[in-house]
């Protein structure tokens, strides 16, 4: 079943808020992961959370190029459309 872009944004925001220990309302999808203070372990956890949310696998050679929440949303929208 196709997932809407809004649903993707909501889930990615929630995952980012959890990983960066912020309120959802405070998370900027356009902010890169560095500015959210995510270290290398945090980025692995975030990826797993996103994969679990959408029951999908993001290959590492794709994942390494996704530098902010918006990148993740665009990628998933393309994959899950």
């Amino acid at each position: 079943m196709a997932v809407t872009r809004t649903e993707i944004e909501t889930q990615v925001l929630a995952a980012l808020a959890f990983a960066s220990e912020q309120e959802v309302s405070a998370v900027d999808l356009g902010a890169d992961f560095d500015s959210l203070g995510l270290d290398s372990v945090g980025r692995v956890e975030l990826l797993a959370r996103v994969e679990d949310s959408f029951e999908t696998h993001v290959p590492p050679d794709d994942a390494i190029h996704l530098g902010c929440g918006q990148d993740v949303v665009r990628y998933l929208a393309r994959r899950l459309a």
Binding site: D32, F33, D34, S35, G37, L38, D39, S40, V41, G42, R43, V44, E45, L46, L47, A48, V50, H57, P59, P60, D61, A63, I64, H65, L66, G67, C68, D71, V72
Partner: protein
């Protein structure tokens, strides 16, 4: 003498290197490697060690390097990567296991580190899983060979003497990547004594999620299991980091008995477990959980033990140990079954490099005993002038013995006379009740999540931010008891003309830049007025002195 053969497949071992890693399998019947993937639903792929030898021979026959040549291997926990490392060893070439990308983002920093490594160690080739080939194309890296293109079998390379085995990447106090030159003789000595001191038994099972580009994963798990011919279950590191409970599930499933981890992993796992996760889990087979690679905080380990107790995790399972890549892996081991033992030492006395027991809560730091030395390892504790320290004094730890490696690739060998050189570890230690304790470092190094980072990496990231005074930054480690690892602190002098408003933005940029470059989020970024950071008479930043002032809260500048 007829070499031992792997009877089931009619293979005869054809070199001293093959005998070292497959001799036990040949003598006693090959055990099995169980390879797990990131997918939690996927079943592991089993492969016996005689079949692994065939794959490694295939890799040796098809690797496009010559004996003695260094080459990079982007190591995943897939069979192709393992064959690419072992194949190089059988050939007499020098594999350099490197970290693959993990998690979201970070391509530029990862690629830059790989290029620096290739250049510093003169790598002639990069062996890469086919899915990652696009990440290593282009200038700055040597030619690519796909791991999936390595031959599945080969004739074996006869007569390869047990010389250099591989280069172990490590970060020293400088930014340039260093490759520790590990000899097979170093490995043989260390692997034997680790097993002997662990009371290794034929039915022991090793379980590991540790990366194979880390010495604890490559030497302590893969080569250890091969040398002793023990079953081995391997999980990708990302499988543990993203779903930590899988470590326990695999131990339960395989009745794992030996499973090591860096100190951070124990509180990391404990903090992510729910009570229901332990339902039905039986960890009673786990008899040794080696714990090292970074400073050990007793309280976080005790919490782990308490959390796992309902799953029949025995309190004595944790085995604190001390080691470093320059000594192949292990230097000292606590006794099996004892668990974590601490001693209270006077903080005041330690600042004067003296070891005095203390029970005064205001003046006591709990220090974990790291056990007696492994056999054949010699330790000397020395003062800054190189003279031996007296009893009950803290000194720099120097090591000598058959496990001490010859030095770094491209650098002068470790100094010393006699058959073995002395290695100055840069760690500060002392003897307590006949056991080694590590009390800090005289070298500048930040160890976070089991990985060594040079402070220079943090400082360069800070100095690339406009507003930070060049050559006026100091990065150092402080204990971070919450995470069970170390935190990096960055102290930076700001140009005097910067306003309060711009200072806030500068601190954010420093934090972002350092996280991006190192993968470690600074614990604190402190912006200081010009002239605040202590320097030597020649103008060099004194990191240790800056750290001392920071911990005493005597640095002027608000935390960001």
């Amino acid at each position: 003498m007829t070499p031992p053969s792997l009877v089931s497949l009619g293979l005869e071992l054809c070199s001293p290197v093959e005998e070292l890693y497959f001799g036990a399998a040949a003598a006693r019947g090959a055990r099995t490697l169980h390879l797990y993937s990131d997918d939690p639903r996927a079943e592991p792929v089993p492969l016996s060690y005689d079949q692994l030898l065939i794959r490694a021979r295939g890799a040796a026959a098809s690797l496009r390097v010559k004996p003695g040549q260094p080459y990079l291997v982007l190591v995943t926990s897939e069979l192709e990567s393992i064959a690419a490392i072992l194949g190089g060893m059988l050939l007499g070439a020098l594999p350099i296991p490197c970290a693959p990308p993990a998690g979201l983002g970070g391509f530029a920093g990862w690629r830059a580190r790989l290029e620096e490594t290739a250049s510093a160690l003169d790598a002639q080739l990069v062996v890469v899983p086919s899915g990652l080939a696009s990440l290593v194309e282009g200038p700055g890296l040597p030619p690519i060979q796909l791991a999936s293109g390595l031959a599945l079998e080969g004739p074996g390379v006869p007569g390869v003497e047990a010389g250099l085995s591989h280069l172990q990447l490590t970060s020293g106090s400088t930014a340039a990547p260093k490759g520790v030159r590990i000899r097979h003789a170093n490995l043989e000595a260390n692997l034997f004594h680790i097993g002997w001191r662990s009371g290794v038994q034929a039915d022991d099972v090793v379980v590991s999620w540790l990366p194979l580009f880390h010495d604890m994963g490559l030497v302590g798990c893969l080569l250890f299991a091969l040398y002793w011919n023990l079953d081995l279950a391997l999980l990708p590191p990302t499988a543990f980091l993203s779903r930590p409970k899988r470590w326990l599930d695999v131990i339960d499933r395989h009745r794992g008995s030996l499973s090591p981890a860096p100190a951070f992993a124990f509180p990391y796992l404990a903090s992510r477990l729910r009570k229901t996760d332990l339902s039905g889990l039986d960890l009673s087979s786990w008899r040794v959980a080696y714990c090292g690679a970074e400073p050990i905080h007793a309280a976080s380990i005790e919490r782990f033990v308490e959390v796992l107790r309902p799953a029949k995790f025995a309190p004595g399972t944790i085995l604190p140990c001390y080691g470093l890549a320059e000594a192949t892996l292990a230097v000292s081991f606590s006794p099996v079954g004892r668990g974590v033992k601490t001693v209270g030492l006077s903080r005041a006395a330690l600042t004067e490099h003296r070891v005095v027991r203390s029970t005064d809560p205001q003046d006591t730091t709990e220090v974990v005993l790291l056990g007696p030395l492994l056999p054949e390892v010699q330790v000397e504790l020395r003062d800054p002038q190189g003279l031996l320290t007296g009893p009950d004094q803290v000194g720099q730890i120097a090591l000598r013995g058959p496990t001490i490696t010859p030095g770094y690739q491209g650098s002068a060998p470790f100094a010393g006379d006699g058959p073995f050189p002395w290695l100055a570890t840069g760690d500060l230690g002392a003897w307590v009740d006949g056991e080694l304790v590590v009390l800090g470092r005289s070298k500048d190094l930040i160890i976070a999540f089991g990985k060594n980072h040079s402070p220079v990496e943090f400082e360069r990231a800070a100095e690339s931010v406009s507003g930070i005074r060049p050559g006026s930054t100091a990065a150092f480690a402080v204990p971070d008891r919450a995470s069970g690892t170390e935190g990096a602190v960055l102290c930076c002098e700001v140009r005097a003309e910067e306003s309060d408003w711009s200072r806030g933005a500068i601190a954010c940029l420093v934090r972002e830049g350092a996280t991006s470059r190192t993968g470690v989020r600074p614990h604190d970024v402190r912006l200081l007025e010009p002239g605040s950071i202590p320097r030597t008479t020649s103008g060099k930043v004194q990191r240790a002195k800056t750290r001392e002032l920071y911990l005493a809260n005597r640095l002027t500048g608000a935390p960001s």
